[in-house]
């Protein structure tokens, strides 16, 4: 069957199964070198990006390291083997004008795609208050509000541009939080990463706009390997948002991203994600493997890094946004809602590594599982000998909808300083029949009732999201749970 024919069939399937309104495919010519992975692939990607020698060297070192690594197997799920030679590592849409100098020159098909995703990019339509870097398969197609941000000294551009125009910053910070030796997927990413966003907030600047990256996978059988780096200098503040979607296909696609955050003295980085990759159909066919390494370093004293994530998509989500609390009095936060339905799997949580004195971390994790899904919270709180007076509060709640799903909590705690204070609370509940009857006896239908209960359950996380995102997140959960209850 042709790709569009398949696409139509899948869309029809999906309409019957519930709605994934981002499942469409954009028909656009692609610059797509052959499948497979070897040193030449790495060189080719680097050449496509016209990268300097040092960048290529770093990639090659990563690649050679990766070749000696093994795919980890400790996660609480199984998945079919990934054939790393059967993936396209680079796919860029062919544009009529090869390198558009402004967003107005970007190919109409691409602009239309982002319009349809609710992320208008052109000057007259774009969302005020939010600067967007739009990534389509392996490349960034454009970044909005750049000149406005430049007035404040804020750099917000694609990773490819950063490598070319801000090499000193990239050299200094790339891999400083997640080195390529860190893990199998981080090494792979370092070798073949194609794009992503770079943000730099100078000393004392409160970034005037929300910065955001929208990741779109479009081409079939491609892997998306993006890399994001956010650096906040002394006493700066930035709120960064990330959204992701992909077309519906009956094969799995790999998304292995790396995100690194660096917060210097008194800096504050707030990083929010609403992840809605295609999660496969009702029988569990297709969907994205979302194997991501996200880590922030509170390098400076009194710095704060806060991760907020709403994970509602992907066939498998495997990620642990973490914070290294190196600076004294630094603060790490992790707020997560992971929703799994049909045959989705999520193994997610965080690591809080306390090194500095009086460092504080907060973990609030809410897992919701329905149908045949598996949802695990996995978290590590580690107090190093130097972390005098460290504090942690963890709360991990799971909610089950129906009788075929499961939830697990794996909290790991390592304490090497006895002045530390740690609190851990965990609960597992089912959507309670009496709650449902109570709400329904007041006139709310099945779905409205579930949505209210779920909203109440996730409130502590939703309130951490920027307003427009929290509305979006609520809608997303409602859409996902439609048809799951009853």
């Amino acid at each position: 069957m042709s790709d569009t024919g398949k696409q139509k069939e899948l869309e029809a399937n999906k309409l019957a199964a519930g709605d994934y309104r981002y499942g469409f495919h954009t028909d656009i010519a692609e610059d797509k070198p052959p499948k497979g992975l070897n040193e030449d692939t790495v060189r080719l990607i680097s050449a496509k990006k016209k990268e300097p020698e040092w960048m290529l060297e770093w990639r090659l070192k990563a690649f050679r390291h990766w070749q000696n690594m093994h795919e980890p197997t400790w996660a609480n799920f199984e998945y079919g083997p990934i054939d790393y030679q059967d993936i396209f590592y680079y796919s860029a849409p062919k544009q009529k004008k090869p390198s558009p100098t402004s967003l107005e020159e970007v190919d109409q098909e691409l602009l239309k795609t982002f319009d349809r995703l609710g992320i208008p990019l052109t000057e007259q339509k774009r969302i005020s208050g939010v600067a967007v870097d739009a990534v389509f398969d392996s490349v960034s197609v454009g970044t909005t509000h750049q000149s406005e941000l430049a007035k404040h000294g804020v750099i917000f551009c694609s990773m490819s541009e950063a490598v070319l125009h801000h090499p000193d910053l990239v050299k200094k910070y790339l891999g400083s939080v997640v080195p390529y030796t860190d893990n199998f997927f981080a090494a792979l990413n370092a070798a073949v990463f194609s794009d992503g966003s770079f943000c730099y907030i100078p000393k004392g600047v409160h970034c005037p706009l929300e910065l955001s990256t929208y990741f779109r996978i479009n081409a079939e059988d491609t892997g998306q390997f993006e890399r994001t780096l956010v650096v906040a200098e002394d006493s700066s503040y930035v709120s960064y948002l990330e959204g992701c979607t992909a077309p519906m296909r009956d094969t799995n696609q790999l998304h292995a991203a790396v995100v690194e955050l660096v917060a210097l003295d008194h800096a504050h980085i707030k990083y929010s994600t609403v992840q809605n990759w295609y999660s496969g159909d009702k029988e569990g066919r297709g969907g994205i493997y979302n194997f991501v390494t996200k880590r922030g370093k509170c390098a400076g004293a009194h710095s704060t890094i806060s991760w907020t994530q709403v994970e509602a998509g992907s066939a498998i989500t495997w990620k642990y946004p973490s914070v290294i609390l190196q600076g004294d009095n630094s603060v790490g936060k992790f707020y997560s809602v992971a929703l799994t339905n049909h045959h989705m799997i999520a193994d997610t949580g965080t690591k809080m590594i306390h090194i500095g004195k009086n460092t504080k971390s907060t973990i609030v994790s809410k897992g919701i599982s329905s149908d045949h899904a598996h949802n695990s919270y996995r978290g590590l709180v580690k107090i190093m000998p130097s972390a005098e007076g460290a504090r942690n509060f963890s709360q991990c709640d799971s909610m089950l909808v129906g009788n075929h799903c499961s939830a697990n909590t794996f909290p790991y705690i390592e304490v090497k300083n006895n002045t530390a204070v740690l609190e851990h609370e965990a609960s597992t509940s089912k959507i309670n029949a009496e709650q449902m009857f109570y709400l329904r006896s007041r006139g709310l239908d099945l779905e409205e009732s579930v949505s209210l209960i779920i909203n109440g359950f996730c409130k502590d996380v939703f309130k951490e999201l920027p307003l427009e995102f929290s509305v979006e997140a609520v809608k997303l959960l409602e859409m996902k749970l439609e048809g799951s209850v009853g």
Binding site: Q435, R440, L444, E448
Partner: protein, 250 residues
């Protein structure tokens, strides 16, 4: 308005209601009394449509706006949107959801069904505060999560508030007086009295006669072992208070 005919119903295969017949007209207040285990709470849950209870035979005819419906088999939310309300004996907690949000969602769901305009949050806030004043309730509770950490009395008053907001045609109040001290009971009763209208009806389910000192029923029914064994005027309640149930059930 409501006519229950030969209603048999139970839970998990056990029959609890064994042929109930009851007719309630608009404007009337009916009290249903009976000893523990007689089926009082089951009756209220079956009228409201609790999914754990099964109706094995009989009908619950409900007439509203010139429509005649059989409530048996209808989803509980549809019953509510047609104007049926049940005040719970044990109101349920909904963590994280402010009362104002919950009540507006319910109010608008009913409006939508009945073809009335929905209310925006600002208008609804005024409407809600007005009703709270009517029931002498503390307005600070407006943003507290539904029933969470409410005292027993607060929960029961919250049920009456919901009744005031949703404005049902038929309200079934399941032991709303239980667990209330005398002052709270007076407030609840006063609230119910204020909500009485010629076009709505109330079924009061109660174990004790004392609530009926404050809400005057038109009829009193005695439920025993799944059947209504006696129906009379309000004097019957006093007689039960004086003599107990035994003389009625042998």
């Amino acid at each position: 308005m409501l006519e229950i005919k030969d209603l048999h119903a139970g839970i998990e295969g056990k029959e609890i209601l064994k042929g109930i017949n009851l007719k309630v007209n608009a404007g009337e207040v009916h009290a249903i009394m009976g000893p523990n285990g007689s089926g009082k709470s089951t009756l209220s849950k079956v009228i409201a449509g609790h999914p754990q209870y099964t109706v094995t035979s009989g009908v619950i005819e409900y007439e509203v706006n010139f429509k005649k419906l059989n409530l048996v088999g209808m989803e509980p939310d549809l019953r509510a949107r047609e104007g049926v309300f049940m005040a719970f004996q044990y109101p349920v907690e909904i963590p994280g959801i402010p009362s104002s949000v919950f009540l507006r969602a319910a109010f608008n769901a009913i409006c939508r069904h009945q073809g009335a305009p929905e209310m925006d949050p600002i208008d609804f806030d005024q409407y809600l505060r007005g009703k709270m004043k009517l029931l002498s309730m503390d307005e600070k509770n407006i943003d507290r999560p539904v029933n969470v950490d409410f005292s027993g009395g607060e929960k029961k008053r919250n049920e009456v508030l919901q009744m005031a907001i949703l404005n049902p045609r038929l309200a079934v109040m399941d032991e709303t007086d239980s667990g209330l001290d005398i002052d709270s009971m007076k407030i609840v009763a006063e609230g119910v009295n204020k909500l009485r209208r010629p076009d709505n009806a109330v079924i009061l389910i109660t174990h004790y006669q004392r609530l009926l000192n404050y809400i005057q029923p038109d009829f009193v029914h005695i439920l025993y072992n799944g059947k209504i064994v006696r129906s009379e005027g309000k004097e019957l309640a006093q007689e039960v208070e004086n003599r107990g149930y035994d003389w009625l059930i042998k």
